[in-house]
Symmetry: C2
Subunit: 238 residues, 2 copies
Amino acid sequence: MVMDFSQIRRNDHLPARIASQIGREISDGRIAAGEKLPTEHILAKTFGVSRSVVREAIAQLRNEGLVETRQGVGAFATDIERRHSIRIEQGNLADRRSFQSLFQLRLPLEIEAAGLAAVNHTAEDLSKLDEALEQMTGEEKWTEKGILADLAFHRQIAASTHNEYFLLFLGFIAERIHLAINTARETAVLTEIVEVTIAEHVAIRDALASRDPIRAREAMRHHLDGAASRLGLQLRIF
Amino acid sequence: MVMDFSQIRRNDHLPARIASQIGREISDGRIAAGEKLPTEHILAKTFGVSRSVVREAIAQLRNEGLVETRQGVGAFATDIERRHSIRIEQGNLADRRSFQSLFQLRLPLEIEAAGLAAVNHTAEDLSKLDEALEQMTGEEKWTEKGILADLAFHRQIAASTHNEYFLLFLGFIAERIHLAINTARETAVLTEIVEVTIAEHVAIRDALASRDPIRAREAMRHHLDGAASRLGLQLRIF
DNA sequence: TGTTGTACGGTTGTCTGATAACCTTATATG
DNA sequence: CATATAAGGTTATCAGACAACCGTACAACA
């Protein structure tokens, strides 16, 4: 028998907690953009921790782009425009609405990527694409390996655009989505429709090979449309 | 006379440099996923810095999701899927090719956003859009304020999709692009074509108001097409 | 045999104090 | 008036120590 103890509230990471506290002060506007934060000494005293912890907290905020520090002057809250990173907490994708929103964002990017890849791909790209396809075809069922192959397939398409940002953003989004699917996995739904999915992937691959962007876009659109409905999503696809 | 000193490679932020160096080791696979990093002591010795600096560097990597640390055990490289943030170094957008790539990524997102906004926007959204438009129209020249209004306009469209991720991603990308334009600003080019730009914005606004997604997409496509050519970009727009 | 208690070494987390590098401001200097 | 210098404050970095925690090995015990 397994006891179901509730997780104790672990003292996890003092700097992170302080960082989020200061971060909230900024996000909520209690510290205006451009305003100077208290000195590290003062912060350390007010939070009752050492300066090291405060420094690490500020470093975290700086990484997220919420503050800028100038040596010998101080730390300043930055305005939103200067932020240079974007993040998604995995927990956010738990609810269906948020998940659907991310999928909706993915749509135009994948479609555009397919069109660009059709034009820009090299012979090497195509062979890598075929590799990923083979991984998927070989599997009888939609196992973990098949899912990874699917990820690799889409990733290779993004790479075939030869646009670094498509690879960066699409890779990020696709991984988020696949992860969300995995955590709330109802694999049963997926096993039966492997052939359909593979057929769609092959269609995309062939369209790409023909270097016809319109056809590639259509194939990708059709694939995502199918994938969405298989996931029970209701998306607007133009 | 303004001297054009080449940017001195400032020693700025030792931890960041070390973090990127370690980060590259991971990204390039020289440190496999799940593998343990050297201890802080060893890293400090090998880099010739104090442990504080190493700690800050690792904290940064932890923030970006590239490593996980466990007290009493060590720091471990995480596999790609766990990463939960995406970032763009501003310096990367200096060269034209990279800038163009980001603009190319923006295209399908803006167009899709326009279509979604046409369907999903509320009356309040529309009035905010008009506000931003007024800010642009009021200005004689394409001043800083006009640029901000342009940003606000596009941001409001993203918001009008009522899809949090469109707002997050598009806001991020648009700000990056505008910032890059500002730093390498050739304002002279922009001042003369204000009327054209405003007219395009009005067209988008009206298409949105008519709740016709096709028309809204077309208007946005046309606007971005114009903007790209005004910036001297050669983009493929389907 | 198998389980539990305990000691030990190693690693990260936090603290403390000091020094260097840097900025701002005020003051002196010519 | 312009420039140089000094002073004080702040962040950046360093060094060393202790605390908290983990994994393992080994002894003790049933």
